[in-house]
């Protein structure tokens, strides 16, 4: 019996959620955008103290943008649908 092999390749993708690092206050402990995302695709980069889109699985529903206290989040329509 032969076992399947799993050679993998990385594929780049442009993500629809953009964070303005100047405005983002994740370094002060804010996690609002990460908390409200229904798909849990946002995360905080602990080395920089800024939010970012960790997974390209956006429903462009916008709670992250609406609920951000400093207006740091911008949701674009994903490129495939634009």
């Amino acid at each position: 019996m032969t076992f399947p092999t799993f050679a993998l390749a990385q594929q780049r993708t442009s993500v629809p959620v953009r964070i303005d690092d100047e405005k983002c206050i994740a370094d002060k402990g804010c996690t609002v955008c990460v908390d409200v995302c229904p798909l849990d695709v946002l995360a905080i980069d602990l080395t920089r103290g800024k939010a970012y889109m960790a997974f390209d699985e956006c429903w462009y529903c916008m709670p992250c943008e609406k609920d951000c206290p400093t207006g740091a989040v911008q949701v674009d329509i994903p490129y495939l649908l634009r």
Binding site: P38, L39, D40, E57, I77
Partner: protein
């Protein structure tokens, strides 16, 4: 990774629409009960109405409609296949729920005298109540959860229900999509409110998450109910919606219709009598789209400036607020251009059509102690207000059940087996990425199950879904987030198999496009005026069977029964 165990009285799975209502109502029924609301995302912004809702589609308001009238309308809209008892229970409690939501702070449109500003969209009666400021609805629900001291856990993904040795419900298994911890939650009664199976078909764009439904609602609830031994019903009555092409927002009937907007063909001509979403309406939409008169458009460019501004405010701030951004990107202005429309991917959702877990008029499933409400519970065309009303029933029923029963006995082997299944993708050293398996599975759903349905194609689809079952053993997750996607693929595969088997079983056509079978094109009331139920049989196989219709509570006259069968506008023959 740890295993965490806990015990509650009432467990509600799903914190979107029906779930929070069920949790609040269970707590109101008996404040001494320990009620836990378990949510896959975050209760503040989860479910189908994460950004709000722009109206009630099925409000039964005295002076505009009676419960009996509503039951007749939905019986006709769902081609006769309804348990009228469940629809009537909804209709009789619809108005009280509107008043309660109003007291809680949900804003409905009212006229100058303070009455609800009802609009007619359905074929026969008047049931639409706009909520131009409906963006706050999740906040209103959250306040009630806090006020009633409902315990909440976010980011827990339920995977399978726990069934006791005596067949009673005993709780759920779940895992934390951030830490990977495995949770065993024991409960005396469980409310399943996990939303639609929204990640079944693949949107034409190929973008996995561009679905009509919130993609977090991946069909987990349907899969969990099935594996717990519950009966499901009407799975073959797919959800297919008319949407803006490439964008997942609906457009016409409920919002723009009352303002004068309508669906047209490429010549700008109306072709359907009634824009209310039904399978028959979708069949005409499909015919126009694929015929010489396509594509289909939403027409608003004939309306006055103030009307269009009002429509924009509602459409761009409520249910789908990124819609304005989509139109801006394409250079579409409602004032100048008709909006191109298309058909959505297929899904399972009783909120819009009829597919769901079988429930009675108390939201009870066929598994003792298990209740269900919202998009995943079979009460046809139930929409958001139906989710609230059945959420209430489910919460009250679950409270009663928890008062009368103790915790069921659970054997340890069940816990070990599920933990091994859930952790397997994380523990494998290599394997298939969940997104790739999901893409292939959902493309096969489109290829083989998208109506019009063809027998041989659906049989081939089943073969493919069986083959993908083997691939589930090869799924690899690099972190708990990918594990969530991996376990969702399990649920989506179950739903695909259910959709194929139920569709093959009903050898007739019904509900317009929702169940249009090319090789059984006629409706056959003699044999198929029945519910098609699906369950896991004693041998552990997926099986379908007929459940006879309960006698109607409300008589239907022939005109009403046929009301939804003739939706194409009749054109007069041009004399030669």
């Amino acid at each position: 990774m740890n295993t965490l165990e806990r015990e509650v009285d009432v467990l509600v799975i799903g914190g979107g629409t029906a779930g929070p209502m069920a949790a609040v109502k269970a707590k109101q029924a008996d404040p001494s009960l320990k009620v836990l609301l378990l949510e896959k995302a975050h209760v503040k912004r989860s479910g189908a109405i994460s950004m709000g809702m722009d109206g009630l589609n099925n409000a039964v308001v005295p002076g505009f409609a009676t419960p009996e009238q509503y039951v007749r309308e939905i019986t006709a809209a769902n081609d006769g296949i309804v348990n009228q008892k469940t629809i009537l229970a909804y209709a009789q409690n619809s108005y009280a729920m509107i008043e309660e939501l109003d007291r809680w702070g949900v804003k409905f449109e009212k006229d100058q005298t303070g009455d609800y500003a009802m609009r007619k969209v359905h074929h026969l009666g008047t049931y639409v109540l706009p909520m131009p400021e409906g963006h706050d609805i999740k906040k209103v629900l959250y306040r009630q959860l806090k006020k009633h001291r409902v315990e909440i856990t976010n980011r827990l993904v339920a995977t399978r229900l726990i069934v006791g040795a005596d067949g009673r419900i005993a709780g759920t298994f779940a895992f934390d999509c951030r830490s990977g911890d495995f949770h065993v939650v024991r409960a005396k009664s469980v409310v399943l409110a996990c939303g639609a199976a929204g990640r079944l078909g693949l949107p034409a764009s190929g973008y996995l998450f561009g679905t009509y439904e919130n993609p977090t609602n991946a069909g987990d609830g349907y899969s969990m109910a099935y594996h717990a031994g519950a009966e499901l019903s009407g799975i073959e009555c797919f959800q297919i919606n008319p949407l803006i092409k490439d964008y997942n927002g609906p457009a016409c009937a409920y919002v723009t219709g009352p303002f004068g907007g309508y669906t047209t063909n490429s010549r700008g001509e109306r072709f359907i009598e009634c824009d209310y979403w039904s399978g028959q309406m979708m069949q005409e939409f499909h015919n126009e789209l694929s015929g010489g008169n396509g594509p289909v458009f939403l027409k608003l460019d004939h309306l006055a400036e103030e009307t269009i501004s009002a429509i924009e405010t509602i459409l761009h701030t409520n249910e789908r607020p990124s819609r304005g951004r989509f139109h801006a990107g394409r250079g579409t202005d409602y004032r100048e251009r008709m909006v191109e429309m298309h058909i959505s991917e297929i899904g399972l959702c009783s909120g819009h059509s009829a597919s769901g877990v079988w429930v009675d008029e108390h939201a009870a499933t066929t598994v003792p102690g298990l209740f269900s409400a919202g998009d995943m519970a079979c009460v046809p065309h139930n929409y958001m207000l139906g989710a609230f009303v059945y959420g209430r029933f489910a919460g009250e029923s679950a409270a009663r059940h928890a008062q009368a029963h103790g915790h069921a006995v659970v054997d340890a082997a069940q816990v070990d087996a599920e933990r091994a299944r859930v952790w397997a993708p994380l523990l494998r050293e290599a394997g298939l990425p969940p997104a790739q398996v999901e893409y292939k599975l959902r493309r096969m759903v489109n290829d083989y199950l998208q109506p019009p349905k063809v027998t041989r194609k659906m049989q081939l689809g089943l073969e493919r879904f069986e083959a993908i079952r083997d691939d589930l053993e090869l799924l690899h997750a690099r972190n708990p987030h990918e594990l969530m996607r991996a376990m969702e693929v399990h649920a989506i595969r179950d739903c695909a198999e259910m959709a194929a088997r139920a569709s093959l079983y009903r050898t007739e056509s019904r509900w317009g496009l929702y169940h249009a079978r090319v090789d059984h094109p006629e409706r056959n009331d003699a044999e198929w005026r029945v519910h098609v139920q699906l369950h896991k049989n004693a041998a552990g196989d997926m099986a379908c069977f007929k459940r006879p219709l309960e006698p109607y509570l409300i008589d239907m006259d022939r005109h009403e029964q046929a009301a939804y069968q003739q939706l194409r506008i009749k054109t007069e023959a041009v004399p030669a």
